[in-house]
């Protein structure tokens, strides 16, 4: 019993020490999303996605971001890439809001057109003892299609 308590305490202390991790330029995460497309006439209205997210943090406010995901129910691949500006405290590793622009594309006809889309993103690390787990939400609208969408998901930041 003491060994178990010691292990739990050690893991919590280790997690607390890791809550403020040194910033790195490059980062990647495994992702799981619920996604909703706001076009009432679209064949694909929502899905559950799995994939990867990546970022290159270049300055306190500016990052390059991207993702590649697979829609599990509708069997599509979708990608995005662009730039994001952090609009909250740049040194707050627990919560941030990012505003940006990404090019969103897919080989799946029902997700066309491929287009540029401004987006707003929220990221939250709710558990200090699990700093690699991030909850996210994002909204966007396509400049060409004038259609909006949103996703909510969970990320596990990879250790590299």
């Amino acid at each position: 019993m003491r060994c178990i308590l010691a292990a739990v305490l050690l893991s919590l202390l280790t997690g607390a020490a890791q809550a403020q991790t040194p910033p790195r330029v490059f980062g990647g995460a495994v992702s799981l999303n619920g996604i909703w497309f706001d076009d009432p006439e679209a064949e694909v209205r929502n899905d559950l996605e799995a994939g990867l997210n990546a970022r290159a943090s270049l300055s306190p406010h500016i990052s390059l971001v991207g993702s590649g995901v697979y829609g599990i129910r509708n069997k599509y691949f979708r990608y995005s890439a662009g730039v994001r500006v952090t609009a909250t405290d740049v040194d707050n590793q627990a919560f941030s809001v990012g505003l940006g622009l990404q090019y969103r594309g897919s080989g799946y006809y029902e997700l066309k057109p491929d287009e540029w889309a401004p987006d707003a993103s929220v990221g939250w690390r709710p558990w200090p003892q699990l700093p690699d787990v991030v909850l996210v939400a994002q909204g966007w609208y396509g400049i060409e299609s004038d259609k909006a969408g949103a996703l909510a998901g969970i990320r596990y930041v990879l250790p590299f």
Binding site: P23, D38, S96, V97, G100, P118, W140, Y141, A150
Partner: protein, 81 residues
């Protein structure tokens, strides 16, 4: 499209869309309501014109540093959205 324009675009409909999503989560589960309200308040504060003006002011210097090869990373959770 310059960074100032995209910030303005992203602060409008996309931010409203995120707020709708988070609000729906708070309505679906009353236990999430306080956290949802907190996140919505922080998001609204972030896209407030006064805050965006401060963000705008910092960008030219940061772009100059990036182009000069001076990289100063941060650990933003929203980068993984």
């Amino acid at each position: 499209m310059d960074l100032l324009t995209l910030l303005g675009l992203a602060a409008g409909r996309p931010a409203d869309r995120v707020i709708s999503l988070i609000d729906a989560a708070g309505n679906a589960d009353p236990q999430l309501r306080p956290e949802a309200d907190n996140i919505i308040a922080q998001l609204r504060s972030a896209v407030d014109p006064a805050n965006l003006a401060n963000v705008f002011a910092a960008l030219p210097a940061e772009v100059k540093n990036i182009l000069s090869g001076i990289i100063d990373p941060r650990n933003h959770p929203s980068d993984f959205a």
